[in-house]
Structures are given as structure tokens and as C-alpha cells.
């Protein structure tokens, strides 16, 4: 059911498997890694710039890129193969062989304003206590870091970000909160993330951003996408409210 290939320019084996009649997944390695993320982001860009007929969309994750398609259109294409899986694999193999500069995709950089602690970040003290830091130190370390969006998942616009300083690492809550407010910035293990809408959740909440992380009225509803670079900026309540009024 799988095809083994070497990824051009790297020694990472890629593996293509069917997910459903309308989707195939390309797997790249098995560990979370910044270089791998750059490679998948790159592969995604190349595929979107060189789509096969019938391609609908792609979903990027930690080590995979999943390609969604319309089988009726794919079957009409002149790609080699008797079934969609063969035809799409043939196209993906062509993409693999396109020669490119290393990391040709330049990531978008975003600064996210956050009001830390207080009612907006009720678990800031837990994160501080767990790591034997003061609350101010937690804020300083969190805002000093540069984060990479590995994938968008869980709920619309929820970005899983890696690259957090291990000094802030805190386990998820044993009992998840029934309602985490929109904009809450949280920590789970070694990852940080922002809740784009009110949902149940188990992350330790350290603050809140006034930015709309997901807005159906925007051309790109999710503020963040896979491959983006993010930094956080601490703001006061006045600034928070000024954002909220926009």
C-alpha cells in the first residue's frame, strides 16, 4: 500500500499512503523537527504552485502533508496510472524531483500582543511554581522566545507552536477546563498555543491576546498558518482594550 522514495536533496525517505478515496498523505520522517517543517512547508508551496488537476487543498502537520482531491477530475487527467493513488503518486514524485534552493520559502513573521496573568492568565502562577520561576520571569522567557507554527488543528485557527524555552515546560491540566475564553494563550508540555474560540481545553493559560486568531470575514480566516514564525509581546490592559475596540 505504500511507496518508498528518497526525498531529493535530503536522505529523508518519503512515504505515500491513502487516507480516504479523496485524500492521500505524504509522510516525511517521524519526529518533530524544524528542518523537517521547513521541508514540508516547501513541498506544500511547490505542490500548490504546480497542482495536478483535481487538487482541492492540502493539510500540513508535524511530519505529513495530506492532499485532498476530487477523484472524478483526477481520473480524467492524463497522469500515468490506473487509479487515483497511482496518478497522484506520479505527480508527487515529480514534485519531489523539482530542483530547488534549500528552504526557498521565507516564513511570515508575526508579533502577537498578550496581556499576561491576572484574570486573563489564571495559570501563570502554576507555570511559575512548576518551573521554580517568578511570574515576571515566565513572562520574560515567553516573550524572549521565537516560535514556529508546526500545524493548525484541534479547532479552526488553533496553531500548535514549537520552540518554547524548556524552562517553561508544564504538563497539561489533569482535568480540562470546560470553557477556555477566546484568545487565551496556553502552555502544554513544550508547546505554546492560542485558543481562537471558546472551547474546552487542558492547556495552562498564562495570558490572553486581543487579536482575532480566527475570523470568518478575513480572506485567510486563520491568522496563523503552518511554517509561520511568531513572537509574543507583553501589553498592559489599556493597550489590550484599545485592540479590542478595533
Amino acid at each position: 500500500m505504500n511507496e518508498q522514495l528518497g526525498y531529493c536533496g535530503t536522505n529523508i525517505p518519503i512515504k505515500i499512503y491513502g487516507l480516504s478515496e479523496k485524500s492521500v498523505t505524504v509522510g516525511f520522517g517521524t519526529t518533530i523537527d524544524h528542518d523537517l517543517l521547513a521541508l514540508i512547508t516547501d513541498f506544500n508551496q511547490l505542490l500548490l504552485q504546480n497542482p495536478f488537476s483535481g487538487l482541492i487543498t492540502t493539510v500540513q502537520a508535524y511530519t505529513t502533508l495530506t492532499v485532498f482531491f476530487d477523484p472524478l477530475i483526477v481520473m480524467l487527467s492524463d497522469l500515468p496510472g490506473q487509479v487515483c493513488f497511482e496518478k497522484i503518486s506520479a505527480h508527487l514524485n515529480k514534485i519531489v524531483q523539482i530542483k530547488r534552493e534549500k528552504s526557498s520559502t521565507i516564513p511570515d513573521k508575526l508579533i502577537i500582543p498578550v496581556y499576561y496573568g491576572g484574570d486573563f492568565g489564571q495559570d501563570l502562577s502554576t507555570v511559575a511554581r512548576t518551573n521554580k520561576l517568578s511570574e515576571t520571569e515566565v513572562i520574560d522567557i515567553h516573550t524572549a522566545g521565537q516560535y514556529t507554527v508546526f500545524m493548525i488543528g484541534f479547532v479552526p485557527g488553533f496553531a500548535y507552536m514549537g520552540g518554547m524555552d524548556p524552562r517553561l515546560s508544564t504538563p497539561r491540566k489533569e482535568v480540562p477546563n470546560a470553557k477556555i475564553p477566546t484568545g487565551s494563550v496556553g502552555i502544554a508540555g513544550n508547546q505554546t498555543g492560542i485558543y481562537p474560540m471558546e472551547t474546552p481545553g487542558g492547556w495552562q493559560i498564562i495570558g490572553r491576546t486581543p487579536l482575532k486568531m480566527f475570523d470568518v470575514n478575513r480572506l485567510q480566516p486563520s491568522l496563523l498558518k503552518g511554517g509561520d514564525m511568531v513572537t509574543f509581546k507583553a501589553i498592559g490592559i489599556k493597550e489590550f482594550n484599545a485592540y479590542a475596540e478595533i
Binding site: M1, N2, Y17, G18, L19, S20, E21, K22, S23, T25, G27, T30, T31, I32, I56, T57, T58, V59, Q60, A61, Y62, T63, T64, T66, F68, P71, L72, M75, V83, C84, F85, M151, I152, G153, F154, V155, P156, G157, F158, Y160, M197, T199, F214, V216, Q220, P221, S222, K225, G226
Partner: protein, 334 residues
Amino acid sequence: MSMKISIIKPGLLSTIQDMGRYRYLSQAVPVSGAMDELAHRLANKAVGNDDHNATIEFTYADASFKAETPVLISYSGDGATLVCNNEIMPAEKPLFFPAGSVIKLIHNAIGVRSYLAIAGGWDVPDVMESKSTYLTAAFGGFKGRALQKADVLVSGTLLSEVSDEILNHLIERSLTYPNWRISRESLLPENRQTIRVVLANEISWFDATSIISFLTNSYTIDKRSNRMGYHLSGKPLVRKVKKELLSTAVTPGVIQVTGSGDLVILMADCQTTGGYPRIAHVAAVDLPLCAQLKPGDTIHFSEISRDEAEALYLEREHDLSLITMAIGLKYIKT
């Protein structure tokens, strides 16, 4: 001119749905759309609509609505039977009701969901290129929510040529419908308890006994079942590979195995990514059968190959295109 209905009784869960929202998966926006896509499409076809027009997905019965104008509607699915003036209305057939008609959904023990189509489709705004309701994030459909008492729904005014002709043939002072109907039964297998599946990428993570058990034992739909997914109760599966799966894309039909070895079939509103290993996915042609399963129903899985699943899908699409063509030929002189 648009047609109009008002909701008298909304029922357990009634939402506007279409063929789903596929272009925003990368932003973690679920597909949503009709759980039973086949019934949704047949209801649309019966009034001359495009498959992509929005329908109302009703969950079970105990709902009713009133035609505020003359309406051309149709319904399909296994959750309810439509009744007007104590007369049972045939499914998968265009139905013309004069203004003032009160139409009730009464209990139909077979399944869960029924779809109500109107000529021109239900007119609600497009959100990210779809009219489907996604309740968790409160967007799409009718104001991002389930239908409530006294809601007024209107149809799109742009009728297809076929819808126009069906309406011209049926428009009268009283309730009327033609002799023909679409045979939904001919598209469904006789045995609706057998769900065909294609084994998934992580199949080798399970021990051989568990794989055999998955393909031979029966499973019961648990109470924890909704538009996001169905929990199944049955013999838990045992994993021989204990490593964690890094979250990766999933899609409706995928069968995940939770930490305790239980099966979950992902359905229309499922998350776009998941971190549980997958044992199989439900063949696209059998997903409509899953949409009609209710807590307590028992199913078992039967393995087919990826190529067979694709061939079945293409054959189903071909059959559906023939139905569209046949209805067109009845009404449009070439």
C-alpha cells in the same frame, strides 16, 4: 420569487448543510456538511437542484414546519417520514404544497437523519464557500446555529431549468406530486449493518489477533455519538507498537483507536487532525450508512482494497449522474 417556510417545531437538531467546506481544512475548519451525503444529494436531485444546494438536516422526527408560500420540496433519509393532512408523503420525489400547508416529520425507526430540499436551495449566506452549519464555532448555515421555533427560511430565487419545469408541471391549488421517484434503495446494499472498510496506515501497529477481531466481531454504537464521531463499544483492540502518533490529517470515515483500544468513527464535523492511530477508513460509499446509525445499533466491518473502494465510489458517482440525466430528460425537450 422565493419560497418560504416557517419552523413550527425544530426537532432535536436541525441544521442547514451542503456538500461541506473543503477548502479551509488547512486552517483546521472541519468539512461539516450533510452526514448522509447520499440522501442530501437525492433530495436535491428530486427537485431539480444541484447537489451543492443546501438542505435541512433533521435529526429523528418530532419536527414540523409550515409552507408560508407555495413550495416545491423533497426529502430523503431514514430519520423521519413526512406527513401532511395525515397523509404520508413519498420520499425522493418532488412534492408541491400550497401556501398554508403544515408538514410534520413523524418517527421512522430505521435511521437518524433526513434531508429537506427546496427548489433553488435554502438561501443562507456562504461562509468560507459553503452553507454548512458548524455549531462548535457557530458559523455557517442559519445564523451559525440550529433551527429554532419561528425561524423563517427562504429558498434561493435562481431555479434550475429542471426545477422550473417540475414546478410548472405541479403548480396547482392543492398538494400534488408526480408518479416517478428516485429509487434510493437501488443505491444502498440490502445489509446495512456491514460497513466496508479499507485498512489504514497504522494497521501494523495492532497485533494480529486484534486485526482479526476488528474484522470479525460486531460493534455497538455508543451513546457518545454525534456529528463529530461515533464511539463504538466492543472488544478493545490491543496495540503491539506503543509509540505515539504525531497529529496528522484525518477526514470523515477514518476509524481511530483510542488509548483504551476503543474505536471511534470520525464523522462530518470531526477535527481536521488527530493523534490516535488509525486502523481503517470507511469506504466512501458506505459512509451514508454510518450517518443513519443510532446508539444501540450493531455493525460489523468487512475489508475491501483501496482500489475496490475507489471503483465503488466511481460507480456510485456514475449512477448518480444517470439519475440527474434521467430527471432532466423527463422535463427538458432536447
